[in-house]
């Protein structure tokens, strides 16, 4: 967590008096702009995409299975003769939306645990840290498969499982971030004022942790997308009749042997959004790092 200390210090080390109270707003570079454009396009698809779908995602529109783009519909058909374009639009909602909910669940639980552990200390910190250690020593994919074996794969189970696998890792990161912030004088002053734990967490720790946690959120979000659609790809995630990009890859895998691109399309869509988010995360991360000696750049 070395990089965080530099970042926290940056807030108080403004150039002029005016700048001191304003957060430096770094300019977006090209890759970050591309990332934001990709994310915005995807969010737009989630919001209003289905309005433009020519068919219902489960309507069989043609006898031609694995039709090439242009033959039937805009992007062709899948293995059952359903319109691929419509299914892509509806699938965006499941893939992008559910992953978002899972990430938020992971962050709410993880941040609550991590911040409390950092600020409360003592036995509470020890207990939380040990539980987190054990959870992390468990590969996420295995945890998910075991829970699915037990509880079946309903959307609630899936989203909560992915959320919980995130929670332990978020708890560890947010604890480290909160520890860095908690050693500052302003937190000490707040403690001396007699503020409650909740108030310190909300008014001192939280506002200062937003920046590093935003990057972590982006990273976790891409994991959620890859993870949930991965489970759907295995046939153990989202179940039909809902459309999901991961599930569409699985459904159309057989079409590959006839040279159909139907399986590649949803897989590419997932890749594009995860690349987009990672471009933003990368830019966010570059804002917080320490500077390398200019001599080394030569």
């Amino acid at each position: 967590m070395k990089s965080q200390s530099g970042q926290v210090a940056n807030y108080s080390r403004g150039k002029g008096n005016k700048a001191r109270f304003r957060r430096a707003r770094p300019t977006l570079n090209l890759t970050a702009k591309i990332g934001i454009a990709i994310l915005a396009a995807n969010l737009l698809t989630v919001a209003i995409g289905p309005l433009f779908a020519p068919h219902s995602p489960n309507d069989i529109i043609s006898d031609l299975v694995f039709a090439q783009p242009g033959e039937v519909g805009l992007l062709g058909t899948d293995g059952l003769g359903r319109d691929l374009f419509s299914r892509m639009l509806y699938g965006a909602r499941t893939t992008i939306g559910l992953s978002f909910i899972a990430t938020v669940i992971g962050f709410v639980i993880g941040m609550a645990l991590g911040f409390t552990a950092a600020e409360a200390g003592g036995w509470l910190d020890d207990t939380i840290s040990r539980v987190v250690d054990i959870m992390i020593s468990f590969p996420p994919m295995l945890l998910a498969l075991i829970v699915i074996a037990g509880l079946g794969s309903s959307m609630v189970v899936l989203v909560c499982t992915v959320g919980i696998t995130h929670a332990s890792r978020v708890a560890r990161v947010s604890r480290a971030i909160a520890m860095e912030i908690a050693i500052n004088e302003f937190v000490e002053v707040a403690r001396a004022r007699g503020e409650s734990l909740l108030s310190i967490l909300r008014r001192e720790i939280w506002p200062n942790s937003i920046r590093p946690l935003t990057a972590e959120f982006g990273l976790r979000y891409t994991y959620s997308i890859l993870f949930l659609s991965g489970l759907s790809f295995l046939g153990l995630g989202i179940q039909p009749p809902a459309a999901d990009w991961g599930m569409m890859v699985k459904e159309n895998l057989a079409g590959m042997y006839y040279g159909a691109w139907a399986a590649l399309l949803p897989a590419a869509a997932i890749s594009v959004i995860t690349v987009g988010i990672n471009l933003i995360v990368d830019w966010l991360g570059a804002q917080t790092g320490k500077q390398i000696s200019p001599e080394m750049l030569k």
Binding site: S137, F138, A149, G150, G246, A268, T274, N278
Partner: protein, 315 residues
């Protein structure tokens, strides 16, 4: 050092125990009864009772846990509910296949990742560094099935270079085996390589920012020497951890990659048994994966200690 080893081993065993509790309770979370869930709603009460009796479900959960873990330690993993065969014999070949896949991937990806990581810090922010870092950022974001599907479309369907589906019967000679493994190994390598490259680069760069590197620069030490002699040894421990994390990720990766290529390994066995709700089989395969995962972390921690003179010296 002996104390550290004992402590670390004790922690490893504790983790394994916690994992076994998680595996057991996770599969027993089911509201109602595992037997009903396996057989479905249409099962007659007699068959449910018979299965319940076979699985010993009438006994309390704690008693079943100790019986299960006791047998597991002795190497008896029980019987598959779906096929009735002993789990040990089902897993035998598949354990070998999966370790073959993961092992070859590790042999390809780890040296490649270290090399690319070191090469990219020679000129930080230079053209080479930027292109490695950009392409690794893109690779990191690709799901396994995208890489896999793209590779199959290119190298198996369009050009018939490598098989798209892997069977054990293809493993006749060394070259034949390698040919079958090519596409799965590339897919897995893509999945873990980028992360390792980025972290190796970050770990070395972090050391390059330190005061003693600046000191060495001021003394006039050539750059190659600074990276290899001053920075790399001190960056080793984070790099080892990253390698361990990514080899641990192979555990999840093989599940997906084996599904893409219908590879006859443990990952596909796990997916199939989850889909069939073959609970004893799920538990056994999950435990094998977890043991490997915990062992990898254990080895990584010991290696980290051996590369750190301060820890090594403490007797």
């Amino acid at each position: 050092m002996a104390l550290f080893l004992t402590k670390r081993l004790a922690l490893g065993i504790l983790t394994l125990w916690a994992v076994s509790v998680l595996v057991f309770t996770g599969t027993e979370l089911l509201p109602g009864d595992v037997a009903t869930a396996i057989l479905g709603q249409g099962a007659t009460p007699e068959t449910v009772a018979a299965l319940r009796d076979q699985m010993g479900l009438d006994r309390p959960a704690l008693e079943r846990y100790f019986a299960w873990i006791g047998n597991m330690i002795q190497g008896d993993m029980g019987q598959s509910v779906a096929s009735g065969r002993s789990i040990g014999s089902i897993m035998q070949d598949r354990v070998y296949n999966t370790f073959l896949l993961a092992g070859v991937t590790a042999l390809v990806s780890v040296p490649l990742a270290l090399l690319l990581g070191i090469v990219s810090v020679i000129y930080p922010e230079g053209v080479l560094d930027r292109s490695i870092s950009m392409s690794s950022l893109v690779l990191i974001s690709l799901p396994e099935y995208f890489t896999g599907v793209a590779l199959i479309l290119g190298f198996a369907v369009t050009w018939h270079l490598f098989p798209a589906v892997v069977y054990s019967s293809q493993f006749t000679s060394f070259w034949q085996t390698m040919r079958s493994l090519t596409l799965p190994v590339i897919t897995l390598t893509v999945a873990i390589l980028a992360h390792m490259v980025r972290m190796t680069r970050a770990a070395i760069l972090d050391v390059l920012r330190s005061a003693y590197v600046e000191m060495a620069l001021l003394k006039g030490v050539p750059k190659g020497r600074i990276i290899l002699r001053h920075a790399l040894p001190n960056a080793l421990s984070p790099v080892i951890n990253v390698v361990a994390i990514n080899l641990g990720y192979l555990v999840s990766g093989v599940v997906l990659v084996e599904a893409i290529f219908s590879y006859p390994g443990l990952g596909r066995l796990l997916t199939d048994s989850v889909a069939n709700r073959d609970i004893p089989l799920v538990q056994a395969v999950a435990m094998v994966f977890c043991v490997v995962y915990v062992l990898l972390n254990l080895i990584a921690d010991i290696l980290v200690m051996m590369t750190n003179p301060r820890l090594r010296a403490k007797k």
